[in-house]
């Protein structure tokens, strides 16, 4: 009974996801596509909960729906005047439909042909008690596959540098993003003054809880980035300019601490990025705190975009 009910819920959820995704790609108007994409992100987060991946659900809701949504909505607001006469191709693009259908069919075929793993990595269950944290996803991110996470934090920086390269020469010393004009004493300003302290607590808690429960540096960092963005959009704080030393330090803090820990591991323990068993917990906490700071600042700056002077088109 319960299993059948669960299956019905899964089927309904997937149907809803596909319907919303169809509205994203085929609906008229860019704005509608963006709004449906945000709805899609929230539904996808529910799907992750159903797949027993609460860590991923948190990341999807905060990043996939939240920050990506802010990014796309802001971009749509800027491009409204340049909106193309037609945002979709004329008529039904049969070749595109054929290509998409073929891709989906190939993936579907592969699903049923794939060998099923007997058990997910028995080595992992064995190693987890020595990892220093109880949340297996955090253990993978910061200990077993720390290499991936270190490189990812550098990829984020590279993307940010790419975004900044698109600033115009004269705007280089301006504050990041477009100037915001929330009315002082207005609704947004009031909201932006009340929410950030609460968001700060939630972000810190997510990072801390990530050691043993769902959460972690990425989810908590995203919440902290969102706190900063709300305050900027509400006009209660001004974003810094690119060269502000304190903020540059915050950007590189995470990768730098991570790298230092890696080198320390090479000297003191088995090799690069190998955390010595007794120090695993404090090492992970240190790395995670530094990484959270950098992730929060980098994501907020990525969403703000390159600096732009007042009145620039």
């Amino acid at each position: 009974m319960t299993a059948a009910l669960g299956l019905a819920l899964d089927a309904a959820l997937c149907a809803l996801i596909l319907g919303v995704a169809l509205a994203v790609v085929a609906g008229r108007g860019v704005f509608r596509a963006v709004v449906f994409f945000i709805v899609y992100g929230l539904l996808a987060a529910v799907a992750w909960v159903r797949l027993d991946a609460v860590n991923v659900a948190l990341a999807e809701a905060a990043i996939g729906a939240g920050l990506t949504g802010v990014l796309l909505l802001a971009a749509h607001g800027r491009l409204r005047r340049a909106e193309a006469a037609q945002d979709l191709a004329h008529g039904m693009p049969w070749s595109a439909a054929l290509a998409g259908g073929a891709l989906a069919a190939a993936l579907g075929w592969a699903w049923f042909e794939m060998p099923i793993p007997v058990e997910p990595g028995p080595e992992l269950a064995e190693a987890l008690p020595r990892a220093g944290v109880g949340n297996p996803v955090t253990a993978v991110l910061l200990n077993f596959r720390a290499w991936d996470t270190l490189l990812e934090s550098i990829v984020l920086l590279a993307a940010l540098i790419g975004v900044w390269m698109l600033a115009r020469e004269g705007d280089w010393r301006e504050p990041l993003g477009r100037p915001q004009h929330a009315r002082p004493g207005g609704v947004m300003a009031g909201f932006g003054r009340v929410l950030p302290p609460v968001g700060l607590l939630v972000g810190v808690w997510l990072v801390w809880a990530g050691a043993d429960h769902p959460g972690g540096a990425f989810q908590g960092g995203t919440v902290l980035a969102a706190v900063g963005l709300v305050a900027v959009l509400a006009g209660v704080i001004r974003p810094p300019w690119i060269g502000a030393p304190l903020w540059q330090g915050a950007l590189v803090l995470g990768p730098a601490v991570f790298l230092l820990a890696g080198i320390a591991g090479a000297v003191l323990a088995g090799g690069f990025l190998t955390l010595p068993e007794g120090f695993a917990k404090p090492a992970i906490v240190t790395i995670e705190v530094a990484l959270t700071v950098s992730i929060a600042v980098t994501l907020a700056f990525l969403v703000l975009g390159p600096p732009e002077a007042e009145g620039a088109g």
Binding site: G64, T68, A75, L79, A105, P117, P120, L166, G305
Partner: protein
Amino acid sequence: MAALSIYALTGAALVGLGFFGLLAARHLLRRVVAFNLIGSGLFLYFGAAATRGAAPDPVPQALIITGIVVALAASALAVALVVAQVRAAGRATLPEEEDAP
């Protein structure tokens, strides 16, 4: 198992839909959105595959979280490029498609 197949097939369909959207869209922002749909579909497919064993495997989950963050970084860069393109050319479509009937 049946439920996992539902999610995996949904992921596959999302990849197809996103690919279709990427080809069919003219507006560059729509292409960024469609590209995100492809990524998200792949994550779902991968995540369903990660749950096929006896217990959910945390390694793919960690990789998916990494992927979601990188997707945001790539989207931010793409959006900045779209804005720069609009500023330079005054339109949000690519030049070769401007004269299409």
